[in-house]
Symmetry: C2
């Protein structure tokens, strides 16, 4: 719809920019070198410490909940979850409560017809590769309102008063519903005119390059990925570039689903009805529970763990950052056990790329279910369970022949809250007949329907959003070959 989009071809600009990806290995080396330099100049030293020794954090003697003395940032508490009708109907777990809505914002500008992103080389204590490409602004409300002191957040002014600028994206999106309770951040993309000063630790990178770098292990952080996934690709009835003889059908279907908003196995009315049905039918009942009384969990040796050794631990870390002006702090973090697998099965349907999405319930979601990847799990959790309990499609994804694996990269989750939380992100092409492999809680959807839903909150989960960004990253793939 015309008024849905900027009249000046933002979608076309995005599609064009995304296809101008890495042109040579030199560019990749250059970014690597920059990240290493920033890390060298302001190294971050992270030590695990006991939860009992976290400076400025205290454990409530009656509930065991852990919170910051200022009352800000976040709290680690407990949750009791009952979801009648689900494979596991009831459980207890620690969960992070962070009611504030933070800002994840990328400043962009157009240069020679290509969109560039002002990316930050930012260190986070939980990252396996400490310094990663991050949004221009990545700030909790406690940060940016500076209630707890601290320095001003650079470039914040572009995002605090968006109506004064050209807004491309402005939508609150959820984060991990298994670890966060009702957490959401405001995902923003704002276009600047000229005259933006580039501060140390920031660099303008072409959009296609940022998207292309998603294929690098641990290089583009989760916050950047979620913001990139919300870009208004696929808002116009654009014409895909004419096919060339020998074009890869997968890539041409991908390109098509990024520039034309038609061609879908299910109409949007039916997709929305399917989501409404799940959200009306499933009735999760969650209630806060004291962290020191969670069935199956215990706090011992300075951490909180599940008696099975599975899922995750709540640990403490102590952080020192910077060279001259040293900043020190301590905080609790979630340390998951085992690397996860996050994958879309994907295939062209009538020339338009579709992915198989899962209507997934997570305890911390604001609204019952969100659309998740085809596979999203930690395989290690299932090793002690019978084969029948294995997540659907996991084996198909893991056993896919190399030529079917269109994307395969290990990426970090939010390094400010999670310690070495990494998932292997995969996009796997399949021949599966869309009519045959649909299960009641799975649906084939074209990328442009996901893009349309991403204008609104709480439809597409954080893991699926990362994969959407990775799909946009593949737009440059055919120019690299």
């Amino acid at each position: 719809m015309d008024d849905d989009v900027r009249g000046d071809g933002t979608a076309a600009l995005l599609a064009y920019s995304a296809r101008r990806s890495l042109t040579d290995a030199g560019e990749l080396d250059d970014v690597r070198r920059w990240l290493a330099e920033v890390e060298h100049q302001a190294p971050m030293r992270v030590r695990r410490v006991s939860l009992d020794d976290l400076e400025m954090w205290e454990t409530d003697p009656s509930t065991g909940d852990i919170s910051h003395r200022s009352g800000g940032f976040f709290t680690v508490g407990g949750l009791r979850v009952r979801i009648p009708g689900q494979p596991v109907e009831e459980w207890w777990q620690p969960i992070i409560r962070q009611p504030e809505v933070g800002i994840l914002g990328i400043l962009v500008r157009e240069e020679d017809g290509v969109l560039h992103c002002l990316m930050q080389a930012k260190a986070e204590p939980g990252n396996a590769r400490t310094v990663q490409l991050s949004p221009t602004v990545q700030a909790t409300r406690s940060n940016y309102t500076r209630v707890h002191g601290g320095r001003a957040v650079p470039y914040l002014e572009y995002f605090r008063d968006p109506s004064a600028h050209r807004v491309l994206v402005d939508v609150r999106q959820s984060e991990q519903g298994a670890w966060f309770h009702h957490k959401r951040n405001r995902n923003m993309v704002v276009q600047a005119d000229s005259g933006v000063e580039v501060r140390p630790g920031f660099r303008w990178l072409p959009l296609g390059q940022v998207l292309g770098l998603l294929a690098e292990k641990d290089m583009v952080n989760m916050d950047a990925r979620t913001v990139l996934s919300c870009l208004p690709f696929a808002r116009e009835h654009g014409d895909p570039r004419p096919e060339r003889r020998g074009d890869d059908p997968f890539l041409s279907a991908l390109r098509r689903s990024c520039v034309r908003t038609e061609g879908a196995l299910h109409s949007m009315v039916d997709v929305l009805s399917w989501i409404t049905d799940a959200r009306s039918r499933i009735e999760p009942r969650t209630a806060p529970a004291p962290l020191n009384a969670l069935r199956g969990w215990r706090r011992a040796e300075g951490r909180i763990s599940h008696e099975s050794g599975l899922f995750f631990d709540v640990i403490g870390v102590s952080v020192e950052a910077g060279e001259r002006e040293v900043t020190r702090w301590a905080q609790p973090m979630i340390e998951p056990h085992g690397q996860g697998v996050v994958a879309f099965l994907a295939r062209p349907v009538d020339g338009v790329l579709h992915v198989l999405v899962h209507a997934r319930v997570e305890a911390g979601y604001v609204d019952v279910v969100e659309l998740a990847p085809t596979v999203q799990c930690t395989p290690q959790t299932y090793t002690h369970l019978p084969a029948s309990a294995r997540p659907r499609f996991l084996d198909e994804v893991l056993a896919a022949p190399a030529e079917r694996v269109r994307f395969d990269s290990v990426l970090s989750e939010e390094g400010g809250r999670f310690y070495h939380a990494r998932n292997r992100y995969l996009i796997v092409e399949t021949d599966a007949d869309p009519a045959a492999v649909e299960w009641p809680d799975f649906r084939w959807m074209p990328l442009h329907q996901l893009a349309e839903l991403l204008r609104h909150s709480h439809y597409v989960n954080i893991q699926a959003r990362s994969l959407v960004a990775c799909l946009y990253g593949l737009l440059g793939a055919d120019t690299r070959e």
Copy 2:
């Protein structure tokens, strides 16, 4: 977008159907007679009774909260509300908690190119005119899962398994955030093939007639209005009927905004950013509070009232319905003090009808703010306050000359929970310069943007939805003149 709509011209069918409104006074008399007949055949006798004497309901001795012995239906509890930065920052109030998602469904069918709705003549104890035109199905989850016994809900099968039918609307929408805590119902429109048996108390009415009857005092109930407002008007780039010489510019702008999805003062990106900003910036903090300890409220003489005499009372009613098979029950209800005013200021902008919407905070909303009418208030509440406290635009609406008042009808709110709760609904044409009268929490939006947002939950509040249905009702106005 093509896949956003049924490929077979649903929007065009709706627009055509809506314009075939009442053709003569005989049709109106016919519907009036039918409602009177149903009322006569199964009269409903409603008596006010003390909250102390409500059969099957009990008051928790420690909190004062009132709930049904079965644990079903709803609870009347208390809420403490703090909304920093709002005109009134803190208050206490009774509130209805009804966590279940009920179904409000209208069955439709096409006959001679015109959509017909299967309407129910349904009595509700709170209605001033007891029997009103209601959706085909209007059922709480407690009703339709029959956990508390009771008869089967007719036509429920069309809405319980929507994927087996042709779904036109399926979206959860909120209800009064001032009286309900997080209440939502599933608004559905399902298209049937032939062969639907018409049961006693039900009748097929042409869509245009139902919409036209909104102009009749107390005839179309709130549940029917909200479902009608979600119909997929304005999903296509249709061509409005060619202008005729002497066409009323207001009505031609209305028609245009119902068939074409372009022409808007603010792009949808900017509208969504404005909503996101309000939802991120305003931080309501609500907490359950015992009903017997709400500051300013007291329970005496069998009801709960505010010491100022304003706002509303919680009362008890005893109901007897039916002639041969008599059904009896008792229940608490909310009885508001004074009739409300709910109004849109409206005007064409570049030939497309725009209305002035208000980003409104209500304590019971799921997501901070929803888009509300230009004016939504009970004037009586403000009589003891200085003129500066009067709601914005109220005086302009009330003082509008008759020829500017395009719609003016008194309609009932949900008669199952509210006792004689009526609002005067107005659509008032204005010449106000859109650039001049926008305040930070008001925006001019074309009807088609509201229609687009109505595909999703929690954007457009229940009062604004009633007015959207009334606007669709005006589509038939030019054929009546």
